[in-house]
Amino acid sequence: MTQTIPLNAAGDDTTTIETTYRDAMRTAIRQAMLDDERVFVMGEDVADYGGTYAVTKGLHEEFGRDRVRNTPLSESGFVGAGIGAALGGMRPIVEIMTVNFSLLALDQIVNTAATLRYMSGGQFGVPLVIRMTTGAGRQLAAQHSHSLEAWYAHVPGLRVVAPTTIDDARWMLPTALADPDPVIIFEHNALYAKRGVLDSGRGPVDIERAAIRRAGDDVTLVASAGMVDKAVAASDQLAELGISAEVIDLRSLRPLDASTVQTSVERTHHAVVIDEGWRTAGLSAELSASITERCFWTLDAPVRRVAAAEVPIPYASHLEQHAIPQTDDIVDATTRLLETGR
């Protein structure tokens, strides 16, 4: 059931609480709405239904249907309306149910949200937050299982983040809302039920730096969104094989924090980059290219990419699991990489 996290003032003594990613996200939204009347939520089924992934559950009762606004099924329309409302002085949080449906809104996001400030010579900004679920793994088949973070990371004018921890689920949002430009938040479907400890007094966090989730010396595993926990699991398995793997959670997909990655790789001399999206021209390609540009002379072997098979994601579980990167694939790629390097 929905858990209500007590709202804490930033700067209060740190208090920790066990909760879920979903509830942490809801708390973030709720606190933002309490703090600032300009903040409102808009999207398909954010009200009565509670949001497809129950993130906004109950909020319409507290804030009313104007500020927790159900929209018609009109992705391009309501994303565009969110841009307009941001231009008009509001701080909208637009929920696109999943990244899959964001294809219908890409014109608005790329041609308007991302360009208005530039095209207007700095006169108009679009302080809009767009949240969407991403990722495969739930047997939802090809039209409902995209991981298109790379597309968004490609576009100047956007900021793109992917919280993977409970703290980031809670504390990235206020920073995103304070940003004068559009911020896309990717929430991997597998994370909502994740339980963990929230530092409820922490306060807003940066949305630009990568974080080291596991320290290690032999190899750097770079991951984001749904892949971070798999990379951490892989590092556990690798430890048993005597391999010390550092795990970097990108957190921000645009801009990419290349320097944190570089610092790590310069020490480990090996990198495996992991992405749930397709390989060709995906996020893993960018990571491989930028690591190589920065660390070519210190790399002991070429960067390895672990990415989705180049197929539309299939329904059948065994095929789907085979299509997307698994912990074993990461372990396998890492051990092979280290063999090459020797």
Binding site: E310, L319, A323
Partner: protein, 337 residues
Amino acid sequence: MNCFRLDGLDDATALELLGDMIRIRVFEERCAELYADAKIRGFLHLYIGEEAVAAGVMSALTPDDNVLATYREHGHALLRGVPAESIMAEMFGKATGCSGGRGGSMHLFDAERRFYGGNAIVGGHLPLAVGLALADKMVGRTGVTACFFGEGAMAEGEFHEALNMAALWNLPVLFCCENNRYAMGTSLESSESQVDLAIKAAAYSMPAWAVDGMDPLEVARAARHATGMITAGSGPVFVEFQTYRFRAHSMFDPDLYRSTEEVDQWKQRDPIPALAEWLVEHGRADDIEIAARWEAARSETDRAAAAAEAGPLEPLEGLTDHVTAPARTPDRIGAGR
């Protein structure tokens, strides 16, 4: 008070429609159980309550017609003639499924029966229907393209673009709006500024009207009338079928957005018991015939579940099959003869 009217239909057709609805009902109730048993996974959208629509419309179509549906399409596939075994196998993710296990519940396909899915982007298949009808018109094929979609899809831009093109080009499309009053948890009133959907469609200059979607005989008559018009060259036709889903949107839906009273009220209009009762009352069918339909549906479903269970999985090496065709056709279009 079940006041059906045969009005042009005969006893056999009425019984057939009842049997068709029963087939869907039995099949889908089993699906729900099999979902609970984790045999079926992913999204599962049940059509229970809305069977009169598919039954009535399908009864008006010929094998030459094209059919497109949404992710709530088990009933449409079944009545189109896709074998229950291959539908169930698909939902089990088996290689024997009608989409080779790659599609699942939302993506049933059958080329032989001109069944073009199983489409899971709301509104996304309406332009496809326009294109299929355009192809038919360009090559002089007769046949209607029947396209099912929910009332929620009418807010999407694709609806607008598709209806305009179909009317502008006078294409043989039957737009079948399954208005079950909700798009997930969003009621029609909170989604459309104009809730009389036929008015919306008529604005594209096409014939459009609403029909009681809980009455399979009404639906069948409307669909026959519409396909008749289309075949005679009317261009596209829009029919709104007013219906209701008795179950939640999908197996993930906590169904918080409507009252049990409302659901119960609609359940009283359940067309299956109602039509059965009416047929018997008016001496148009007897209990034995009707019981036989239930029995047939049950054994069809049993066989389907058993076959699905027994069916093989696609080997992992098959993962990359069908991304593109295995080999290019040898056509040399535009090379000069």
